[in-house]
C-alpha cells in the first residue's frame, strides 16, 4: 500500500501520458493480427498480400493476369520477396499511400467481392519488413497511358501512419517475366505496357510444406485457372541443402558472401483464357446493417427524406417497402433522415428487421464456376475423378455469399499429392484466396467433418476429415467474407454458411460415391476375370490329356473360353 501511495497518479499526470495511438503503432505491436506472428508465416503473408492485390487489380481491369513471385534468401534469416504483375499499374500519386499507409485502399468502403478487404495487407508487409530489416519497400509501376515508369522507395512513419518517400525516380521500364525452358535456360517473355513490381526485404524463414508460399502459389493456380504464375525460390546453398527438414528454421549459418543458387523458374500455366465474371458493386442490404451503422448512414445520407434515404442507400428497398417500414416504425416517411433521433432509429431498426424484403442481389458475386474449378483441379492435381458443384447464392446477415466445392479422387499411390491412408486434403478458399492456417477453427473444416463420408464410400474417423486419396476444395465467395480475425485465416461459423457448404459437399459426395462404386465393380470384375483366366489353361490341359488333343485344339479351347469370358464375364 505504501508503494502505491507514493506513486499514485493524478488525473493530471495521467493526462500527460494519454495520447492518440496510431493504427500503425497498434498493428506493430499486434502483428499476429495481420499474419506476421512468426518468420515462416511472415514470408507467406507477404507473398499472399501482394499476389491478392495483383489479382484484384487484374480482375478489375479485365486483364488476363500474369504474375511472378520471387523469393531470394539474402541472409540466414532474411529474405527478399518480389512480386511482379501485368496489372493496370498505379498512378504515381497513389503509390506511397497504397504501400505505406495502413487502412488505405479501394475495397473497404464498397460492397463488392474482392480478395482484399481492409487495405491493410501490403502496407503491413512493408511495415514488417521495415521493422525487421530497416529496409524500404521498393515499388516500380507503369500505367498504360504513361511513357515512363516510376521507381519509388517508401517507408511508413508509424507514429502518423503516413508514408515517407526515400526515393522517387522516373525510368524506362516494361514488365517482363522470366521462364525456364526445359533445357534449364532462362527465357524472357514479351514486354507488357503496364504492371507493378513490389519488393520487400524482411526477416523470415522458409520451410517447405503445407503452410509454405509454395503451397499458396499452387493453390492460387488451382483456384485461378486463368492465371499464369511464375515462381522461383533461391535459397543460400547451405540452407537449401537442409531445408527439407521442418526443424531447420534457418539455423544453419551460411557464410554471408555465398550467392543464392540460381534456381529455376516454375511456371503454372493457364487452364483457360476466359476471364472471371466481373462482380457488381452493391449497396448494403437492410437486413445486414447493424444499428450503429444505420444511424451513421442516416447521418451521412444525401437524401432529403427518410423514404428516399431508405430506398436509395439500401439495396432491395422499393418505395413501397420504404413506406411500409416507416409506417411500421410509426415514423413520417417525409422526415429528414438526419433528424431521426436515437430512439426513433431504434424503432426504425426494429421495423427493418421485421420487414419482408427481397434477398440482396447476387451479381455482386463472382464464383469460380464448376467448369473452372474442374479446370483448376485437373491442371494441378493428378486424379481419376473430378467433380464440382456451385451452389446458388445465399445470404447471411444480409450479405450475399455463394459456396462452391470441388473434389478430386486420385487412385491410391498414383499421385504423391495424396495418399490412401491419410486424411483428405482440404483446400480452403475465400474469394479465391487460399487459406492455409487455422483450419481447425474454420467453418469449412467444420462442414467437411460434419458430412457422413462413409455413405459416399470413404473411411471417416469420428468427427474427422475423411480418409483417402481425396482433395476437397471449398470456396466461399462473398462481398464480405466473415473471417474470424484480421489475418483472414478462418471462416466464422455462421449456420447459414455451414449449411450451404454441407449441401455442396454432399452433392459432390454423391457423385464421388457413384464413381467409387462403379470403380469397385470394375476392380471386382477385373479380379474375377484374372482368377478365371488363371484356371482356363488347366481346364484345357485336362481336356487335352483325356481326349488326346493336339496343341492347336488345346489353344482353341482357351480362346473360345476367353471369348465367352469377355461376353458374359462368366458370372453365374
Amino acid at each position: 500500500m505504501a508503494r502505491s501511495k507514493q506513486s499514485l497518479a493524478t488525473a493530471e499526470s495521467m493526462a500527460h501520458s494519454q495520447r492518440e495511438i496510431s493504427v500503425s503503432e497498434f498493428f506493430l505491436k499486434n502483428r499476429h493480427l495481420l499474419g506476421f506472428d512468426n518468420p515462416r508465416k511472415a514470408l507467406l503473408t507477404a507473398v499472399k498480400e501482394a499476389v491478392d492485390n495483383s489479382l484484384d487489380a487484374c480482375d478489375e481491369a479485365g486483364i488476363l493476369p500474369e504474375i511472378s513471385v520471387e523469393i531470394t534468401q539474402t541472409g540466414v534469416r532474411r529474405f527478399r520477396v518480389t512480386i511482379l504483375d501485368n496489372g493496370p499499374g498505379i498512378v504515381r500519386a497513389q503509390i506511397p499511400k497504397i504501400f505505406a499507409k495502413l487502412l488505405y485502399g479501394s475495397k473497404f468502403h464498397r460492397l463488392r467481392m474482392s480478395r482484399g478487404q481492409q487495405g491493410i495487407g501490403i502496407s503491413a508487409a512493408g511495415m514488417y519488413g521495415q521493422l525487421t530489416t530497416g529496409t524500404s519497400t521498393i515499388i516500380q509501376s507503369k500505367i498504360k497511358s504513361s511513357k515512363v515508369a516510376h521507381h519509388i522507395e517508401v517507408q511508413i512513419d508509424t507514429r502518423s501512419n503516413k508514408p515517407t518517400i526515400l526515393k522517387d525516380e522516373e525510368l524506362s521500364w516494361h514488365p517482363q517475366f522470366f521462364t525456364t525452358d526445359k533445357d534449364g535456360m532462362a527465357q524472357l517473355s514479351k514486354e507488357y505496357a503496364h504492371g507493378t513490381c513490389v519488393s520487400i526485404e524482411m526477416e523470415a524463414a522458409y520451410i517447405r510444406g503445407k503452410l509454405s508460399a509454395d503451397e499458396y502459389i499452387k493453390q492460387c493456380a488451382i483456384v485461378n485457372p486463368h492465371l499464369c504464375m511464375h515462381y522461383r525460390i533461391a535459397l543460400l546453398e547451405a540452407n537449401s541443402a537442409a531445408n527439407g527438414s521442418d526443424k531447420s528454421q534457418g539455423a544453419q549459418t551460411p557464410s554471408a558472401d555465398k550467392k543464392p543458387m540460381d534456381a529455376a523458374w516454375i511456371t503454372f500455366e493457364r487452364g483457360t483464357r476466359d476471364l472471371p465474371k466481373q462482380p457488381q458493386e452493391i449497396k448494403p442490404h437492410p437486413h445486414g446493417v447493424e444499428l450503429g451503422m444505420l444511424m451513421q448512414m442516416l447521418k451521412d445520407t444525401t437524401a432529403k427524406t427518410l423514404k428516399s434515404a431508405l430506398s436509395n442507400d439500401f439495396s432491395r428497398v422499393s418505395d413501397r417497402a420504404a413506406v411500409e417500414i416507416c409506417q411500421r416504425a410509426a415514423l413520417d416517411p417525409k422526415a429528414r433522415p438526419t433528424h431521426i433521433a436515437h430512439r426513433e432509429s431504434e424503432a426504425l431498426f426494429k421495423a427493418i428487421g421485421e420487414a419482408k424484403l427481397m434477398r440482396p442481389p447476387t451479381d455482386c458475386l463472382s464464383p469460380i464456376g464448376e467448369e473452372q474449378i474442374l479446370a483448376g483441379l485437373k491442371k494441378e492435381i493428378a486424379a481419376d475423378f473430378y467433380t464440382a458443384a456451385t451452389r446458388s447464392p445465399e445470404v447471411y446477415r444480409g450479405n450475399p455469399f455463394q459456396v462452391e466445392v470441388g473434389i478430386a479422387y486420385a487412385r491410391p499411390d498414383a499421385s504423391k499429392e495424396v495418399s490412401a491412408e491419410e486424411p483428405a486434403r482440404v483446400l480452403r478458399f475465400a474469394n479465391k484466396v487460399p487459406l492455409l492456417y487455422m483450419g481447425g477453427a474454420c467453418a469449412m473444416i467444420k462442414a467437411v467433418t460434419g458430412v457422413n463420408w462413409k455413405s459416399y464410400g470413404l473411411a471417416q474417423p469420428r468427427d474427422a476429415v475423411p480418409l483417402g486419396p481425396v482433395v476437397i476444395l471449398i470456396h466461399i465467395a462473398s462481398v464480405w467474407v466473415p473471417f474470424t480475425s484480421e489475418s483472414k485465416e478462418a471462416i466464422a461459423h455462421y449456420p447459414e454458411i455451414i449449411r450451404e457448404m454441407t449441401f455442396a459437399l454432399q452433392e459432390c459426395g454423391r457423385r464421388l460415391s457413384v464413381f467409387l462404386s462403379r470403380r469397385r465393380r470394375q476392380a471386382e470384375l477385373e479380379r474375377k476375370k484374372n482368377y478365371i483366366e488363371m484356371y482356363l489353361p488347366h481346364l484345357a490341359l485336362g481336356l487335352r490329356e483325356i481326349l488326346a488333343l493336339n496343341e492347336k485344339e488345346e489353344k482353341q479351347i482357351i480362346t473360345k473360353l476367353h471369348k465367352m469370358l469377355e461376353r458374359t464375364h462368366l458370372e453365374t
Binding site: 484356371y535 485336362g542 481336356l543 490329356e545 462368366l570
Partner: protein, 383 residues
C-alpha cells in the same frame, strides 16, 4: 451317363459290376468329350452334372435294404465360382485316366493330393478338397473309386473267429488260406479289396464291434469259441471294405449279423446306420457297401435301465443332442423305424450316453459272460 450294369436282387445283391479299366477310362473320355463339345461346337459354357451326395438325396427302401440315391443332381456350369473346381476335376480325371487306368497303377487318396502339388495354382490346398472331388467323380461316373485304381488308406477292420478266408497270392495268383481262429493274440486285417475272397465257416453269426478294446477283451477270452461267432472290429464308422467284407461273408454263409456299439447318437446314427444302409455321402455305391441284414444289439438306452448302469453314463454333449435331433428330422433310415425314433427320444429324455465298456461296473467280464448271452438269447434287437 450309363447306369451301373447290375441291379441288386432283393435279398442277395450281386457284387459291384466288374467295370473294366477300359470301360472306366471310356466313361472319363465321354464326360470330357461332352465338355469339349460344349465349348467348341456349341460355344456354350460347359457343364458337369453330379448326383447330390447328402442325406437329402437318398431314400430308404426296406425292400432293397439300403439308401438309394435319388435323381437330384447339381449342375456345375463353368463360372467364376466353379472355374477352379472345374479345372481341378478335369485334371483329376486326366490323371486318373493317364496315370492309373492306362498304366494299371494304383494310388492312395493322399498320394493324389500330393500329386496335385505339381499342378501350379490348380493344386489342392488341403486333402479334403481332393477327397471331395474324388467322391464327386465317383458319383458322376457311377464307378466306385477302388475300380478307378484308388486304394483306401483307412484300416479295413479286423477279424477273428471260426472262418477261413481264401485269398490270392499277389505274385502267383494261387490260393492262400487264412484260418482266422489260428492267429494267436492278433487278428486278420480286412484288405482294401475283398471282392475276390472266398470263405469257409461253420459259425452261427457275425458280431461287429465298435471299439478295438472290447474286441480285444472278447478275443482274449475266446468269446468267438464259446458263442461260435465271427468277431469284427470296426474301429468307428466301418470302412467300405469292412462293410463289403461283412456283406459278402454274411451273404455267402447266410449268417445273421449283430452290431455292438457305444450307446450314443454317433454309434446309432453314424456307425450302425452306415453299416446297415450306407451313407448319404456315397449313396451311389451303397448298394454294395451295406449290410441290410444287420441288427442292433446294443447298447440301447433301455439297456442302461435294464442293466442298472445309470451311474456309468455321461451327460449328452451339445453335439450329441444336435446329432440325435438332426437324425430324427432328416435321416430317412431313422424316420422309417419307429423303434429307432423311440430309442433316440428315450436317450434325449434321459439326457445320457453310455459306452460299451460301462459293463465293467459289474465286473470286467460281465459283458461277455452275462450281457451278450442274455441279449442274444432274448433276441430283442433294434432294426
Amino acid at each position: 451317363m450309363a447306369k451301373t450294369k447290375s441291379e441288386p436282387e432283393k435279398t442277395k445283391p450281386a457284387a459291384p459290376a466288374a467295370v473294366t479299366r477300359k470301360c472306366a477310362s471310356g466313361k472319363i473320355v465321354a464326360v470330357a468329350q461332352d465338355v469339349y463339345t460344349d465349348i467348341i461346337r456349341k460355344t456354350l459354357r460347359p457343364t458337369m452334372r453330379f448326383p447330390i451326395r447328402s442325406l437329402s438325396n437318398v431314400k430308404y427302401d426296406p425292400k432293397k435294404g439300403h439308401f438309394e440315391i435319388l435323381k437330384k443332381v447339381v449342375t456345375r456350369t463353368l463360372s467364376y465360382n466353379t472355374v477352379k473346381t472345374f479345372a481341378q476335376s478335369m485334371r483329376l480325371m486326366a490323371t486318373t485316366k493317364k496315370d492309373l487306368l492306362d498304366k494299371n497303377d494304383i494310388a492312395g487318396k493322399r498320394e493324389i493330393y500330393y500329386n496335385s502339388k505339381s499342378w501350379g495354382e490348380c493344386r489342392f490346398d488341403e486333402q479334403p478338397e481332393s477327397d471331395s472331388l474324388l467322391d464327386d467323380m465317383e458319383a458322376m461316373l457311377a464307378i466306385n473309386r477302388e475300380q478307378l485304381g484308388y486304394i483306401p488308406e483307412e484300416r479295413g477292420g479286423e477279424v477273428t473267429g471260426p472262418v477261413t478266408v481264401i485269398d490270392r497270392d499277389p505274385g502267383t495268383g494261387g490260393d492262400i488260406r487264412i484260418n482266422c481262429e489260428k492267429l494267436g493274440t492278433g487278428a486278420w486285417s480286412i484288405p482294401s479289396q475283398v471282392e475276390h475272397l472266398r470263405f469257409e465257416s461253420k459259425a452261427k453269426f457275425i458280431l461287429a464291434i465298435e471299439t478295438a478294446s472290447l474286441f480285444q477283451r472278447l478275443v482274449h477270452h475266446r468269446y468267438y469259441e464259446s458263442a461260435n461267432c465271427i468277431l469284427v472290429s470296426m474301429s468307428g464308422v466301418p470302412t467300405r471294405a469292412c462293410r463289403r467284407f461283412i456283406r459278402r461273408l454274411s451273404d455267402d454263409k447266410d449268417l445273421p449279423v449283430f452290431a455292438f456299439t457305444d450307446g450314443d447318437p454317433y454309434g446309432y446314427c453314424n456307425i450302425y446306420r452306415t453299416l446297415k444302409v450306407g451313407s448319404g455321402q456315397a449313396a451311389h455305391i451303397n448298394q454294395f457297401f451295406c449290410v441290410p441284414r444287420v441288427h442292433y444289439l446294443g447298447v440301447t438306452p433301455q439297456d442302461i435301465l435294464d442293466y442298472d448302469l445309470e451311474d456309468a453314463t455321461h451327460p449328452l454333449e451339445e453335439n450329441d443332442v444336435k446329432r440325435a435331433k438332426d437324425a430324427l428330422k432328416n435321416d430317412p433310415f431313422i424316420r422309417h423305424y419307429k423303434e429307432w425314433q423311440a430309442a433316440l427320444n428315450q436317450m434325449l429324455t434321459m439326457g445320457v450316453r453310455i459306452e460299451q465298456q460301462a459293463f465293467a461296473k459289474h465286473g470286467l467280464n460281465y459283458v461277455l459272460e452275462k450281457y451278450l448271452p442274455a441279449k442274444l438269447k432274448k433276441g430283442d434287437f433294434l432294426p
